[in-house]
């Protein structure tokens, strides 16, 4: 990832005028913003080699932006057959009347160039059609092969300009790719861009792997593996591929997650039928016991400031959600509704906790405030769990399973996402069945 970001040089330029168009993302957005995305025009086609031409960047780059913005549920991208103006003039001197005519409120245009060093230069502009003004502009350089990341960064820029909040498009998802019958499921670690592109398998499927989670900088992953039939928490460096077991525990370790500073892994260690929460310092390997209770304590997740931990325990008899200080003191139950609660995850904004709720045979993904008030259930289904936050705290990704028939036929596992408003539930396409998603932070941050 480091390597990639070095190739991306951002140059902010052009205007920052007052935008008339804004999107309020705190409410469910029932009327997505009518948006036109022009094809980008090629400034110096003579410098485009055959290989670069094959990428069809003038069409595909805007297409990736379109797909991002559409998936967010906040934008409605108008069919480009209805566009009157050609890409070049749209970028250099848009005729706003033409765009008003098709009822676009914003228009996105762009220019592509290969520079002297063979780098791809992408310039984009965001136009407020209503007030007939340019409201954002950016030029980016990258190796032509990382054009998708440019499209994601541009998408983030547009999202940020119109919502006032950081986007989440230049991110990746790590998850468990599943195949084979339910009784002998094969599971592999897989990583892909947030939009499903660049899917890559990180393990071969020889051993069961579960619950991968990114480190805050996205370079490491902590997950659980049954390597040599010893269920343990592992660390994986995505760039080097080096894997190592976390700590020297004489029994099962599971449910790992990084601390917000990336220095610790917090997880459960099970011994003699009792699971407690421990942390391990990644550098010094020092292990610390955080909870000590005869009940099951698991699924720990830090608050973004690292001062608190939310976790799952059945100390009251059944699964509920608790919050404690990072030293294990001051334990308070926060889930108060009917049913069971699991998989709590603290929002990166710090204000909410996402969870899975099980009630009367149905599974819900929901959010509540950190003191347990204001519970809102976002989606209900036969089986779903394990929410993971988008880096801006606006979207949750989770996995959903369908019921199996007599021999398990019809059973499937897929990734889904939903806005915390409860709107815009979308299936995330993966090449195989998928579960246990974890959303990275912004890659270029």
């Amino acid at each position: 990832m480091k390597r990639l970001s070095l190739l991306l040089i951002l140059t902010l330029f052009i205007t920052k005028s007052f935008a008339v168009v804004t999107i309020d993302i705190t409410r469910g957005n029932l009327e997505p913003l009518p948006t036109a995305i022009s094809n980008f025009y090629i400034d110096n086609p003579e410098r485009f080699s055959e290989n670069i031409k094959k990428l069809n960047l003038d069409k595909n780059l805007p297409k990736v932006i379109k797909s991002n913005l559409t998936r967010s549920g906040l934008f409605y991208v108008l069919d480009n057959k209805s566009y009157i103006q050609k890409p070049k003039l749209s970028h250099l001197k848009p005729r706003f009347e033409d765009w008003k005519l098709i009822k676009a409120q914003i228009m996105i245009s762009g220019k592509l160039k290969i520079d002297d060093k063979g780098r791809l230069r992408v310039e984009f502009r965001l136009w407020d059609v209503v007030s007939a003004k340019e409201i954002e502009g950016l030029a980016l350089f990258a190796t032509p092969s990382s054009w998708r990341r440019i499209a994601h960064i541009i998408s983030d820029k547009i999202y940020q300009r119109l919502t006032g909040e950081e986007g989440y498009f230049d991110t990746r998802i790590i998850y468990v790719a599943e195949s084979g019958p339910k009784t002998q499921r094969v599971k592999k670690l897989a990583i892909m861009d947030q939009d499903g592109a660049n899917n890559k398998f990180l393990t071969l499927g020889n051993e069961l792997v579960l619950t991968p989670r990114f480190s805050p900088n996205g370079k490491m992953v902590t997950y659980m593996s049954y390597f040599k039939n010893l269920p343990r928490v592992y660390l994986l460096n995505i760039e080097t591929g080096i894997q190592e077991v976390v700590g020297d525990f004489p029994g099962m370790t599971f449910a790992p997650r990084f601390s917000p500073d990336g220095k610790k892994v917090i997880m459960s260690f099970a011994r003699d039928g009792n699971s407690d929460i421990y942390t391990m310092d990644v550098k010094s390997r020092r292990v610390e016991q955080i909870t000590s209770n005869p009940a099951i304590d698991t699924s720990p997740s830090y608050s973004p400031d690292g001062r608190f931990i939310v976790f799952n325990s059945d100390r009251s008899g059944l699964q509920q959600i608790y919050v404690m200080r990072n030293d294990g003191r001051g334990v308070k139950r926060i889930s108060r509704g009917k049913g069971l609660y699991g998989t709590p995850v603290w929002s990166p904004r710090g204000d909410l906790i996402a969870f899975t709720k099980i009630h009367k045979g149905k599974f819900y993904i929901g959010v509540m405030r950190t003191n347990g008030t204001g519970e809102r259930l976002l989606t209900q289904n036969f089986y779903q769990e394990a929410p993971s936050w988008s880096p801006n705290g606006r979207v949750l990704i989770f996995y959903r399973e369908t019921a199996g028939g007599k021999k398990g036929q019809g059973a499937s596992a897929n990734l889904w996402a939903v806005d915390i408003t409860g709107y815009n539930e979308v299936k995330i396409k993966t090449p195989t069945d998928a579960s246990d998603p974890s959303w990275s932070g912004l890659l270029s941050k």
Partner: protein, 154 residues
């Protein structure tokens, strides 16, 4: 201690009644653990390899203890070691189920040890909900999947 025993006795009595009341029904008991013989294998003749649990529970009911008594006798006689696998059904969150499977496997290990099996003869592993024996999504299948399985160590 005696109080607990009395309570257990009472539960068993009530259960016996409920079971006889629905003897022709499904194989799931009123307390929702599986009581049939499908999926069951044997460590040796007359020694079933598994016991079943109620939803979210790891306590051993009378029939389970009967099975484990046979396992204990067999392990002691044969000198073999076993791995006790703890499993959960698919109706719980993955991480909690890993812990629950571990708790179930240890309940079995503790019981085997209480019957004189040496601690060194029994190790445990939890598979949570990862290795169901019946892939169907039905109450019967879930009751068959909430289980511990004692596997001989070769």
């Amino acid at each position: 201690m005696s109080l607990i025993n009395i309570r257990n006795f009472a539960i068993v009595t009530v259960l016996g009644f409920l079971l006889s009341a629905c003897a022709t029904g499904g194989k799931r008991s009123a307390n929702d653990w599986y009581e049939g013989t499908d999926t069951v294998k044997f460590l040796a003749s007359g020694v079933p390899d598994r016991v079943f649990f109620a939803t979210n529970k790891s306590s051993l009911h009378t029939a389970a203890k009967g099975t484990l008594n046979k396992q204990a006798a067999y392990i002691k006689k044969s000198g073999l070691s076993v791995v006790v696998e703890g499993h959960a059904d698919e109706r719980g969150t993955r991480e909690y189920n890993l812990a629950l499977g571990e708790r179930r496997a240890n309940a079995v290990r503790d019981y085997l040890m209480s019957q004189g099996v040496g601690g060194g003869k029994v190790t445990v592993i939890s598979y949570g909900k990862e290795r169901p024996v019946n892939p169907e999504s039905s109450r019967l299948a879930w009751s068959q999947n909430r289980r511990s399985v004692s596997v001989k160590v070769k």
